[in-house]
């Protein structure tokens, strides 16, 4: 009898622990269903861009060296850079750089004619200009814009004509550089996009050329002494979409999307029903035991 009682107790204990287990499983399930947030990060390319230009009319061709401070072995050499030459943007990791100029063909160990250093940040573009006359040659470093006002273009003017110390530049009738002096650079100006005539005016003479400035593009116009007089070089500093769409793109229909777990409610109902059944059963058992005990006792008393 005592042995049987132990079995019953064990069975009740089992029932209770199963109920507890079911309860904790349900709680855990609810917790995992709630978690699962998506993370998003900002794009940060590690690249910076440096561009070099020789804009000193009376300075002979040079070799331009670009050194990285962090990495002395890494260097870029542009050979035989003459007046009016502009390199493309060189992609470099962000960091500290120095630019040195030597006469074309001079040994790389010789002291540079001119040098300057700059810190460049990832995601930014820079233009290094060698400007002025040979006697007063200097390096100027510009941080180039990479964003335009919505629907507009940006343009700036570099005055590198020695023969015409002061020029006025207009584009589509709008003056974008007024009496700009030799070796000067305007800041970027926003203009409505279009294909217009750029006019460089010196006194009564005017040099015209057609310049297209698209929305979302950034340009530098360089006024140069050409073989046949004034010239305008149109550099495209950067370009983007002419029209920016709103928001993201709807590029999926969900056919391969992971489907989240369904509601735990039906399973919890099953567990609750089972628990009620088991508890009801054990209560009934207890009651029936109490009722039947005297009947069992009768023979022993007799």
């Amino acid at each position: 009898m005592k042995h049987l009682g132990n079995i019953r107790r064990a069975a009740l204990l089992l029932a209770i622990s199963v109920l507890l287990l079911a309860g904790s499983a349900a709680t855990a399930a609810m917790a995992t269903a709630r978690s699962g947030a998506a993370a998003s990060g900002a794009a940060a390319s590690g690249t910076a861009w440096i561009r070099l230009a020789h804009l000193s009319p009376d300075t002979p061709a040079v070799d331009v060296y670009l050194y990285s401070f962090g990495n002395p072995d890494a260097k870029v050499v542009l050979h035989h850079v003459g007046y009016g030459d502009v390199s493309g943007y060189l992609p470099v990791p962000g960091g500290e750089y120095s630019v040195a100029m030597r006469a074309a063909g001079a040994p790389s160990t010789s002291p540079p004619v001119l040098s300057s250093s700059a810190r460049v940040s990832p995601g930014s573009a820079y233009t290094v200009l060698a400007v002025g006359l040979r006697s007063g040659l200097r390096l100027r470093i510009f941080h180039d814009d990479l964003t335009t006002p919505t629907g507009q273009a940006l343009v700036r003017v570099v005055q590198a004509s020695m023969k015409h110390p002061q020029v006025t530049v207009s584009w589509g009738g709008m003056t974008i550089a007024s009496r700009l002096r030799f070796a000067s650079v305007t800041s970027y100006q926003a203009v409505a996009p279009g294909v217009e005539t750029a006019a460089v005016t010196v006194g009564t003479t005017e040099v015209r050329s057609t310049v297209a400035l698209a929305a979302g593009s950034i340009h530098t116009l360089i006024v140069l002494d050409g073989a046949k007089g004034l010239e305008v070089a149109n550099l495209e500093d950067a370009d983007g979409s002419t029209q920016l769409p709103t928001g993201g793109a709807q590029t999926g229909f969900g056919g391969t999307a992971p489907h989240g777990p369904g509601s735990p409610a039906p399973w919890l109902e099953v567990i609750a029903f089972g628990s009620v059944l088991a508890l009801g059963g054990s209560l009934g058992l207890r009651c029936s035991r109490r009722r039947t005990t005297p009947r069992h006792a009768l023979p022993s008393r007799a």
């Binding site: 900002a42 030459d85 990479l146 979409s241 029936s288």
Partner: protein, 214 residues
Amino acid sequence: MTIRARWWAIIGAGLAVVIAGTCGLLLTRHGTGGLRPAPAASVATQPAFPAPTAPIVAAAPTGQPPPVARPTALTIPEIGVKTRLITLGLTAQGTVQVPPTTSVAGWYTRSPRPGAVGPAIILGHIDSYQGPGVFYRLVVLRPGDPIYVRRSDGSTVEFRVTGVQSYLKDHFPTQAVYGPTPDAELRLITCGGAFDSATGHYLSNIVVYATEIG
């Protein structure tokens, strides 16, 4: 069968139901997983220092860069993508158009042509209602993977992946994706992240950043 045996049967049945319910609950907690491959780590590469010499472009009087032909096809060997490119514009709502079918990608015609200065934009679907679309496996691309765009003049321009990013559409970085760059770049755009079955749209966009090489 005694009364007590009947009570025992009821307890047993109750326990069996509880155990079955618990098993059912635990087995259905993980969802169906979907077919999607695991996303690649989103890393932006540090580019190698450039080659010892770089091209010098003379600031020619006209200064206009040579025109670049229209893109016609896209190949991404790493994920088996080989598709022709259709053209895409803007919707009446000002959002970017997407290809009408999920098996082709499209070039956004108001972005620079691939190989010209600036970020060329190419969009493709991750999936249809039934299964994978042309950019289904875009998210597994890694920095350094090559991408080829063929153009109408028969030339091909090669790009290398520099990074893969996921953005919530509500916080899409339009300037970073569509805005000006000083070099020739490429952006591949598709969907990703959680799917909202109420609206029928994914909540995020996957953007692959790439730069022209050579």
